[in-house]
């Protein structure tokens, strides 16, 4: 039921939302999250983020996360899109949509989906700074803590 995509191309929030809601009168709320590239990392100017992934595993891992959300929340549908490749500041990185008859399920599911994507989908970010330096982003304890809120 979930729509899952990994792509270099940008995505269109309005079109994705319209596709999820089209012809449905059983949906009362839609929660969404979009992650975007910030132009500043700790005071250093970013030229771009490079998103690498594990192609054979990525969509299956995202589908498993969506299935877990559908098991936990009364969802009418959800959409997960994650971009890969070189993304400049201001660019969209990731889209999460969760639709439900009830707003709380829609909001909780969209939080759940982005928290789990951060810890359970095989993507890696490399930061390219305007001074030419480049470094891999380190996983943050706060992401593991955010996922741990959903334990049980």
């Amino acid at each position: 039921m979930a729509r899952i995509r990994v792509q270099e191309a940008d995505f269109d929030l309005g079109a994705e939302t319209a596709a999820l809601l089209a012809g449905r009168a059983d949906i009362g709320g839609l929660g969404a999250f979009i992650g975007t590239v910030r132009g500043d990392v700790g005071g250093r100017a970013l030229a771009a983020l490079h998103l690498e992934h594990y192609p054979a595993m990525t969509e299956a891992a995202m589908a498993a996360i969506a299935a877990e959300a559908e098991r936990r929340f009364a969802l009418a549908g959800c959409t997960l899109i994650h971009r890969v490749g070189r993304l400049v500041p201001g660019a969209q990185i990731v889209l999460v949509l969760a639709a439900s008859a009830h707003r709380q399920a829609a909001l909780d599911a969209s939080s759940f989906l982005i928290d789990w994507l951060k810890t359970d989908a095989p993507f890696w970010k490399r930061e390219e700074f305007t001074d030419g330096e480049s470094r891999w982003v380190e996983a943050r304890d706060s992401d593991t803590a955010a996922k741990a809120r959903w334990a049980g």
């Binding site: 992934h53 594990y54 595993m57 095989p122 970010k125 891999w136 996983a139």
Partner: protein
Amino acid sequence: MNGGGGAVRVLYFAWLRERAGTGEETITLPGDETTIAALIALLSAQSPGHAAAFALRTSVRAAVNQVFAGPDTKVRPGDEVAFFPPVTGG
């Protein structure tokens, strides 16, 4: 199964790929079955780059056949094993 071992496809991602100096290689196992931990020991002996890739063991994650795996997860000929840092997508 035969007792002569067999080939495992090994993938590296992010800085493990850069340190190992390759994104993909094929390794012949000494026997019919091993574990992620034993495979890491075997791979670390391949080159200084490989040793550097696996030096920070707490920062190395693995998957066997596209499923997250732990140190004790079994690896058998024909499997696809991937090594990478903790994920940072989203």
